[in-house]
Structure formats: structure tokens, C-alpha cells
Symmetry: C2
Subunit: 317 residues, 2 copies
């Protein structure tokens, strides 16, 4: 099969074997997949991953011990726990210390014709959820993780820093709880897309310092932390949603003096993400910049790396 393979030789569309489904796994024919910033980080050397990359996808079950699933469209949680440790038995395999992660850690990913995933990772996709929208389930789930971790009140002051894909999605999700949520960024085009999706935009210099109950740091840049510390109120919360690659340098004294909460946030629950996207409660269509066939996956990455780019999809059919 064709697959986008990353190794010391770089990113190459390669011909490799169709993966064998392990016990409890389904074989899935990938329909459509999305490029995430983490994929771009991996190509820069993050986590030392070698193999087929990609973890945002929608596919059709090709083979499965659960015959009912065959032929059905699915999306899948990307963390594969060991199944026996305390984390896995408490249904929190996202934190299993032996976990593999689709296209990120020890498991071939979805920029390919086929992948395998455990049946327990799969979620049926409602018919009304198109492939190109279903590719957003995984990143939207990551935004719902913020809702799982914090308690919001409707009149909270919430700022999301970073006008990338994740920032725009997070601002939309949080706005369901806190309508006044603002997005802060400095990419003209991305901000226009966000605005077209109904996201409230604020210029950085308009923001009152030390006044935000919650600041979501989704810039992915080291300066984002200092900005977040400047904006959050005493005893307020900063959510770290960026994948930091390399060391972070900042003045930590305000964290102590102002008793700030900082909380890391990674993968989230698929259920609410599927429901929100199927119910058209979120606007994601304008975030799609381009769709490339799998054969042009290398070009898709070149496009996704552009500073003003948002979501780039790969059609794997």
C-alpha cells in the first residue's frame, strides 16, 4: 500500500505492506486524514518518531472480529494502552506508560491506505458527518478535554492565545460555556477565518492584564507562556495546549506570587466532539485550506507548513 513514511531520510511517500491487525484490532481503510501541528513537529524531530505519520482520520472498517462494524465509517482514539496497567483498567489509557500513539509513538499512522486500531478505540461516524468534517473529531476532542478539566461559568473572562487550528477550535468549544471567550492572534488571514466562524477576536493590546479567569495557551511558541502569565488574574488558570518542543524559559515568580494554576491538556473525549460536529455546533469548514490526494502527500506537508495555513487534508481513498 502507499503510505507517508518518516525516517532519517525525511518524509517519503513509500510502498509498504498492509498492516496486520493484532488481536482485538480492526483493519481500517483510511478515507480522509488531517495534518496536525504535531505532525509538523515530528517532521522537525519531535519525539524521534520513525514510521508512517498521521493521527487525524476517518476511515471504513475493512475487517474486524465485530462483523457489524465492517463497511462502517469510523474515527478512532489515538492512544493504545497496554490494557492491563492501573491506568488502562481505570479507562484512562491515554496515560498508560506503555502506550503507543497512532502516528506519534510506536504505531504506524493514518497517512496511508490502511491502518489498524483496537476495536475499543473506534467510534461510529453518523451519516450526516461528512469525511472532511469527521477529520476534525480528534482535534475537537482535544478541545473538549479543556471542558473536562476545568469548570467554566458563563461570565468568566477567557482568552485563547494562538490563531492556529487548535486555538480557533478551542475558542469555539469554550464559547459554548463562556460566550465572551476571545481569541488572540496576529495572523490576518487566520483571524479572518476565525471571525467567519463566529469567534470573537481581540487585539493583544486591548486585553486588560491580570484580568482573565482562564487563558488557553495554544500559540505553540515559547513567548506564549509569558503572555499567558501576564493576562491571567491572580488564582486564575492557564491551560497549556501547545506541544512544546525544546526547553521553555520564563519568569516563574508570578506563578507563585499570584498563585496561578497551570494545567497541561492533551487528548480528549471523542463522544462530545462527534456530537458537536454532527450537530453543526462548530464551524470547521472554513479552516480547510486544501485537500491533496495521498499521492501528493509530500506537497500537502509543504502547504501545511506555510505560516498562514490552517487545516490541510489528505484524501487517502
Amino acid at each position: 500500500m502507499r503510505a507517508l513514511h518518516f525516517s532519517e531520510n525525511g518524509l517519503r511517500l513509500s510502498q509498504i505492506e498492509v498492516p496486520n491487525a493484532e488481536k482485538g484490532e480492526a483493519l481500517i481503510r483510511v478515507r480522509m486524514a488531517g495534518i496536525c501541528s504535531t505532525d509538523l513537529e515530528i517532521v522537525r524531530g519531535y519525539l524521534n518518531f520513525r514510521g508512517v505519520i498521521g493521527h487525524e482520520f476517518v476511515g471504513t472498517v475493512e475487517d474486524s472480529s465485530n462483523r457489524d462494524l465492517v463497511g462502517k465509517r469510523v474515527v478512532g482514539e489515538i492512544n493504545l494502552g497496554c490494557g492491563v496497567c492501573a491506568w488502562c483498567t481505570r479507562k484512562n489509557e491515554r496515560h498508560c506508560q506503555q502506550r503507543r500513539v497512532l502516528g506519534i509513538l510506536g504505531k504506524d499512522g493514518c497517512f496511508a491506505e490502511f491502518i489498524t486500531l483496537p476495536l475499543r478505540n473506534l467510534y461510529r461516524v453518523p451519516d450526516r458527518l461528512e469525511d472532511r468534517i469527521a477529520c476534525f473529531v480528534e482535534p475537537v476532542a482535544a478541545c473538549y478535554q479543556i471542558i473536562e478539566q476545568l469548570t467554566f461559568m458563563p461570565h468568566d473572562r477567557v482568552a485563547v492565545l494562538g490563531d492556529g487550528k487548535l486555538g480557533i477550535l478551542a475558542a469555539q468549544v469554550i464559547a459554548h460555556w463562556v460566550p465572551g471567550t476571545v481569541l488572540v492572534g496576529h495572523h490576518e488571514r487566520k483571524l479572518k477565518v476565525a471571525q467567519a466562524c463566529g469567534v470573537k477576536i481581540a487585539r493583544e493590546d486591548e486585553l486588560e492584564l491580570k484580568s482573565y479567569d482562564t487563558v488557553v495557551e495554544a500559540t505553540g511558541s515559547p513567548g506564549g507562556m509569558e503572555k499567558a502569565i501576564g493576562l491571567v488574574r491572580p488564582q486564575g488558570t492557564i491551560v497549556l495546549k501547545s506541544t512544546y518542543h525544546g526547553d521553555l524559559l520564563f519568569d516563574a515568580a508570578p506563578l507563585v506570587i499570584n498563585e496561578i494554576h497551570l494545567i497541561g491538556s492533551r487528548c480528549g473525549p471523542f463522544g462530545p466532539a462527534i456530537a458537536a460536529l454532527a450537530g453543526k455546533d462548530l464551524c470547521v469548514e472554513p479552516l480547510i485550506d486544501a485537500t491533496y490526494p495521498l499521492d501528493q502527500a509530500e506537497d500537502a506537508f509543504i502547504k501545511a507548513k506555510e505560516p498562514e495555513a490552517l487545516k490541510v487534508l489528505i484524501d487517502c481513498k
Copy 2:
């Protein structure tokens, strides 16, 4: 009166005017005061404070609009809010943005014969609580702030990093909730004192990585953060109790990947601290290394700066 004054010329025992009590303030004759690590940081330039330093004290009310207090022994909360902002009206003047802080920010401190403090900041000291022990109320209150901020369960795994004064006190306070709390440090003598106080000691190399529900970072050194991140379990909590002076550099990726909570922790409630010290629920006597008269306050600071030093008191009577 005599007072230990800090300015660009350094730390000098000086002759200054007795302070005037403002409206709502009492005039207090300082009996005994303790040197805190924050005082040592101030002398190194932290917060650019100029004036009389010191914030841990017990004194006798010399003059007050509340005549019942005159002649009584008191300790005092160190944050002086503006009294009218949203923080102050919600009884959280520790976070008032216009606050002054005794001996730290805009308010002369307690290494002096007299100080003034608002009546609302004062707490009566029970007769059975001796002066030398009452000096610990303020730092012990800071440890009870951790109890206010988190929820502990008896079988949690808790590690306190740093065998300084604050670490030893924090380990004792938390051990009331979590008996298995361990203290980690590398100063032979300090660890012996901690052990004499009944604190459980653990060597750093015995600690299981990624296994602690809560790690209290009280080393005051930049490396403490990396150690705390290494020890805390996924979705566990790191309490930042150190005053960091200068920038902190660390790999923040695990904060996100392991969804770690980080929470800054500063001043705390005096009530439980007084009760615990008066009830002899905490062991602090062995932490006292020396007591100097106010006339030798400069020498007291030299002693307090020794790497193996714990609490140094100044007798201001």
C-alpha cells in the same frame, strides 16, 4: 528606634523614627522575629524592596483604637490590601493589586522595635504559645495554604522537595492529612533535624519516577522544577512553594503530555497555623539555630545565609 534597614548601601542597623499608626492600624512593639528565605532574596535584590525588612514576628500591641488589644501578644498577616477593590471586599486581600506587604513591598517590616499593622491583620496569640514558637505562625500558615488549595487523601503519595525551613514545615503539615508524606533533600544536617521532628525522609534515588500524586517544590533552586516534573504522576499536581528569583528554564513538554497541574502557593491562613502550633501538633523548636539580639541583626543575617542554617530568630525586645 532601632531597625534593620535595607537600601542600595546594603543591610544596616539604623536609627529611624517610630512609625505612625495609620487609621485602623495598631502600633506593635516587636518581641521576636524570624528570618525567612524571602528576606535573604530581598537582600540579593529581589523585588527591589527598600526599607525595614522582616515579616515573621510576634509582638505586643502598644497602642490601638481597640483598647482590649493593648498589652496583648499578637501575630499578623503580612498583606495589606487597599480595602476597597474586588479582591479586598471578597476577603482575599492577599491578592489585592494595590497591596503592600510587611517588609517586602511598600511597608516597613519587623526587624525593628516597632511596626504598625491594620487591626484586621492581627491575631491574638494564646498564652501557651511562646514567642520563639509564635514566630513560626507566618511560615506555617503558608504551608496550610497548600491544604486550602488541594484535596489530599490519606493514601496519596506526596513528596516535598527541599529540606529548608519551608520544606520541613510543609512536610509536617501535609503529613497530618497524608501520613506517608516524604521529604527529599541533600543537606545532612537539615535532614537530621527534619527526622528529629518525625518527618519521613527519602533519598532522591529511591523515589519511583512518575508515581507521586503531589510534589511540593520547595527547593528554591531552578533544578527543583525538573525534578518535580520527573516525580509527579500523569494528571498529578506540583505545588510551587519556592520564591523564584530570575528566569526558570525547563522542558515543558511533559507538562502537556502528562497533563500535569502546577499551582503556585504563597501566603496562607493564620487560624489553623496558630491552632497547630499552640496544640503542639507541629515540631518547630529543633529548627531554631540561633537567636540574636536586634543589635546584632546583621550577624543574624550572616548566620542565616549559611547553607546548613535553618531558622534564625532576632530578639527585638
